[in-house]
Amino acid sequence: MNILQVFLDYASALVLPAILVGFPLYGMIRKVRVYEVFVEGAKEGFNVAVMIIPYVIAILFAIGMFRASGAMDFLTDLLRPVVGLIGIPAEVIPMGIVRPLTGSGSVGIILDMINQFGEDSIFVKMAATMFGSTETTFYVIAVYFGAVNIRKTRHAVPAGLIADTFAMLAAVYVVLLLFG
C-alpha cells in the first residue's frame, strides 16, 4: 500500500463519523435547535424516495428486458470486429456494454470473468478498471433527475455516454500500459 492509499483509507473511515457527530455538535454550538431542524430535513427523505420510483421503474424495466432478450450477445458479436481494430480484446466487450446499464449485471460479469480467465488475467484487470472508474449512468440519471422531476435531460445522456465510452477504452489501454 502506498501513502496516498493509506491516507485515503483513514480519510474515508473517519469522515463519516466526523460528519455524523460534527454537524449536530457545531449546530449546538451555534445555538441551532438541532433535533427539530434534523427532523424537518429528514422528512424530505421519504418524499424523495417515492418521487424517484417512476423514473427508476422506467429505466430498470427497459434495461431488464434488453438484458433478458439476449441482445447483449448479439451486440458483443457485432462489436467484436470493430473494437478489434483499435486493440480492444473481445473478452471485455460485455463489461463495456453492461456497465452503464446495470450495477448488478456488471458484478455478475466480473465474477464470470474471474471464473473463466482466473483472477490474475489481464481481462479481469481491464473489466475491474472499467467497473471502478465509471458508474451505472442510466440509474444515476433516473435517481438524480427523478428527485427533482426533470424529464427533459438535454445533453446529460450523450455527455455521460461519451465519458463512459472513453473510460472503457482508456481502461484497456491503461491496464495494457501498466500490466501488459
Binding site: S12, V32, G41, G45, F46, L60, M65, V143, I150, H155
Partner: protein, 314 residues
C-alpha cells in the same frame, strides 16, 4: 435522447427475443414432441404398482448428439425418480441437477424446480431402454423479457425505497449544516475551485456546498452518502431553474461528474469482489477515472454549445 434510447431498448428487446424464438422454432432447437432415448436403471427392484421409485437416468453422448444435432454435447447419468400414475409413467430429474443445454432450458421452462418428461413403454428389467418426451418449449425469450420487465420493476421499487433511510439521515444532517452556517462557510472556501465548472450558479449559493459534499463523498468511495448529497445538490439547483422539467446546464454538469464518477477510492462492491488484488488496480482506476472525468466535463461544455441543446436551455 433518453426517449430514443429508452424506446430503443424496449423495441430492440422485442426484436431480439422474437428473432431468437423464431430461430428456435425454425431449427426446432428443443425437438418439441420428439422422444429422446434414455437408459433407466432402478435403484431398487422395479415394482409395477409403486407410485414413486428412485432411479438413475443415463443419456449417452451419441443419443444426445443425434437428437439435438450438436456434436459438442456430452451425456451423463443423473439421479431421478419414476412416477407412475394411471395417466402414464413420468421421470423427474432430482432437483438442482445440472443438465447440458438445451436440456437445461427445457427443464427451466417446463418444470417447477424439477425437470420432468413422459416415458414411453413399460419397464423391461432393472435396466430399461426407453425414451423421454418433454413438454414442448416455445417462446423462451418472449417469456423471459416479460418476466424480466416485471421483476425489474419490482427491483426498482425496492431500490428506491431502500434509499429512504440514507436520504432521511443526510437531509436531516444537511439541514443542520445549513442552519448552523456551516454550509455557507464551506461554499465560501470552495467556490473559487468549483464555480468555474458551474458558472450559472450565483456566488455564495448553497448549491455549491452540496455539490462539493457530493463530489467529496464520491471521491472517498462513500456511495451511500454520495447519492443523498447529490440529490440534495439537484434540489438546490432546481430552485434556480426557471422551468419545472428541463435540466439546466449546472444540473447536466453535476450529473455527468457523477456518472463519470470521480472516485479516488475504488467502490466498495469492487473491493469485495477483487479482495487484495484491488491494490494492484488502484492506479489504473485512478488514471482512467481522472481522464474520463476530464472528457465528461469537456463533453458537457462542448455539447452545451450545440444549437439543439442551447435552444431548450431554461
Amino acid at each position: 435522447m433518453l426517449n430514443y434510447i429508452w424506446g430503443g431498448l424496449i423495441v430492440l428487446s422485442l426484436v431480439f427475443a422474437l428473432t431468437s424464438d423464431v430461430n428456435d422454432f425454425a431449427r426446432d432447437t428443443y425437438r418439441n414432441d420428439a422422444p429422446l432415448p434414455v437408459t433407466v436403471t432402478f435403484e431398487d427392484e422395479y415394482s409395477p404398482t409403486a407410485r414413486r421409485q428412485r432411479l438413475r437416468i443415463e443419456i449417452s453422448d451419441s443419443d444426445l448428439i443425434a437428437h439435438y444435432g450438436d456434436s459438442s454435447m456430452t451425456g451423463g447419468t443423473w439421479e431421478g425418480i419414476l412416477l407412475q400414475t394411471s395417466a402414464g409413467r413420468e421421470i423427474r430429474f432430482a432437483e438442482g441437477v445440472s443438465l447440458p443445454e438445451p436440456l437445461a432450458t427445457i427443464c427451466n421452462e417446463t418444470g417447477q424446480g424439477d425437470c420432468r418428461g413422459a416415458l414411453q413403454g413399460t419397464p423391461t428389467g432393472p435396466e430399461w431402454r426407453s425414451a423421454v418426451t418433454f413438454a414442448p418449449v416455445r417462446w423462451v425469450k418472449m417469456n423471459a423479457i416479460a418476466a424480466a420487465a416485471l421483476s425489474f420493476a419490482e427491483t426498482a421499487v425496492t431500490l428506491a425505497l431502500g434509499l429512504i433511510g440514507g436520504l432521511g439521515l443526510w437531509m436531516g444532517l444537511l439541514k443542520i449544516a445549513e442552519a448552523s452556517g456551516m454550509l455557507h462557510a464551506l461554499v465560501r472556501v470552495t467556490q473559487p475551485l468549483i464555480r468555474p465548472l458551474f458558472p450559472q450558479v450565483p456566488k455564495d449559493h448553497p448549491a455549491l456546498g452540496m455539490i462539493v459534499l457530493n463530489l467529496s463523498a464520491n471521491m472517498l468511495g462513500m456511495g451511500n452518502a454520495a447519492t443523498p448529497l447529490g440529490i440534495k445538490a439537484m434540489q438546490e439547483l432546481q430552485t434556480l431553474n426557471k422551468t419545472e422539467d428541463t435540466a439546466t446546464d449546472p444540473m447536466v454538469m453535476l450529473l455527468t461528474m457523477n456518472t463519470a464518477s470521480v472516485q479516488i477510492m475504488p467502490p466498495v462492491t469492487l473491493v469485495a469482489i477483487m479482495g487484495l488484488q484491488i491494490n494492484q488496480l488502484f492506479f489504473s482506476i485512478l488514471i482512467t477515472t481522472g481522464l474520463s472525468l476530464v472528457v465528461g466535463i469537456t463533453a458537457v461544455k462542448l455539447l452545451g454549445r450545440l444549437k439543439r441543446y442551447r435552444e431548450v436551455s431554461p
